[in-house]
Symmetry: C2
Subunit: 286 residues, 2 copies
């Protein structure tokens, strides 16, 4: 059974989120608080530089301060952790984002762990991951949270549905599986070792593609009427889903561009404002 197609417009969801944030930033300004996101870029990967710039621009447009820390490619793990600790200790900084991937010689996990939990607005620490899996995280990873925001914006019911997640990375596949589970979906997590991947995906009422391979999910993998969320962002603005082919069966789908990406950035901004509000609330009580 094929329903009418619903386009899940990430730009629209992000736009609405930013409207609400602009209001909250104004309220904070009255109290003399300017939300501040510190981004750290190590090395000179052009895509990473672009992402960091996009995030900085998005901050500025909303009146959120952004601090850019740029470190050379030969930075050591210890030096990087030292920079993170400075930001942890800086009361003007509300959120810290370490752009990944970092150069191979750096222990990325150790660097992520150095981010203090109340500034981990990108949701990359192990503690933040577990809090999210248990349902009480302040800052779930941004892309998984963005996927949930899109589902909620379009009032797509999750409870009892079978969600199939393709991918199991610590910042995407695993946390989005956990969030869908906590919202009472039955969740299947698939990955590169999954046998009969097509058969698995065909079971999904909700399909999340988080695999990092362009046009990986084929049209005939999609059960008629299924909701398809494409979290992939590959070179040339191509998603993980073969969008044109998947249109035929999907009941709802995110286009690329205008997919999960803009909502991910809006979520990062939201977490930064959340963190700033918490700080403001704490200092007004002290």
């Amino acid at each position: 059974m094929k329903n009418d197609l619903l386009l899940l417009d990430g730009d629209a969801v992000a736009g609405k989120m930013k409207e609400q944030l602009a209001e909250r930033v104004k309220q904070l300004a009255v109290k003399g608080v300017v939300p501040c996101l510190a981004t750290i870029l190590v090395g000179d990967d052009p895509s990473s530089a672009t992402y960091v710039r996009m995030k900085g621009n998005a901050c500025r447009r909303l009146g959120i301060q952004s601090i850019r820390v740029e470190l050379p490619a030969h930075t050591t793990t210890e030096q990087l952790i030292g920079e993170i600790q400075k930001l942890n200790d800086d009361p003007a900084v509300h959120g810290i984002l370490l752009q990944h991937p970092v150069p191979h010689h750096i222990d990325e996990r150790a660097a992520f762990e150095a981010i203090r939990i109340n500034k981990d607005v990108d949701g990359v620490t192990t503690l933040g991951f577990a809090q999210n899996a248990f349902g009480f995280a302040d800052f779930p990873s941004c892309t998984p949270a963005a996927i949930m925001a899109i589902l909620d914006h379009y009032q797509i019911s999750i409870e009892g549905k079978h969600a199939v997640v393709i991918g199991r990375s610590p910042i995407l596949g695993k946390p989005v599986s956990a969030m869908l589970l906590n919202r009472n979906a039955t969740v299947t997590t698939c990955h590169s070792k999954t046998e009969n991947l097509m058969d698995m995906v065909q079971l999904g009422d909700i399909v999340v593609a988080a695999v990092g391979k362009p046009k990986f999910v084929q049209g005939d993998w999609i059960k008629p009427g299924a909701v398809v969320l494409d979290a992939g962002y590959n070179k040339g603005n191509i998603g993980d889903v073969d969008y044109e082919e998947c249109l035929r069966n999907a009941g709802a789908i995110t286009p690329v561009p205008g997919s999960v990406g803009p909502v991910t950035i809006a979520t990062l901004l939201k977490h930064t404002v959340d963190a700033a509000e918490k700080t403001a609330a704490l200092s007004s009580h002290s």
Copy 2:
């Protein structure tokens, strides 16, 4: 296709683990180290008291010291956390187990969180959960680790298989789903809100029952040849699986008793010895 039936004998797995542990305890004794597990029991629930006693007895038989902290039912969260902190600070204590459930007025999560990660041999902290989900925990929750130990003992292949977990508790369904995923199974996590549960379970090459309802999993839910692991332990020594009925289809199955329970206790002992060895290694370097 129904293969010959393999009985997954938890007592045999636990026996082999304990043999190896006895040897390690002897080696530690040479260095003057006696592994020590502290158990905390709050209130007078008779089942909990039995579990704690069983764990203490199992320790003693292996030459592991056990300290029993028994607190009255009216203990506050703060008092309980105070007791945990004393054990955290006691260098003679290598592992801490807080028997759950605790009385309702206590914030169980806060109490679990108070256990220092290097003594969290029962794998109950959020940090320990996430380390396990990311594949680098020292002490995964004991029952999930026991399930993996049984699969490994019988050399049951996990990679690429479809594992269906029924249950999503923080100490069982969620961590065992994570461990199976990290071993390259495709994992579906089901629960009380799952629609068409029977259809889901019938997809499983490996089925883990962790739902806490006696004889919940029916014989005709099991795909012929599937591996069935029953982590349930209900009143009257009854598992979550209708064992007699599931025998017909299962390729391998855990009986109750002699199921996952004894391996869970052996895993707790193993974690305590692991922790003691780490302490011994650290002190010999200092």
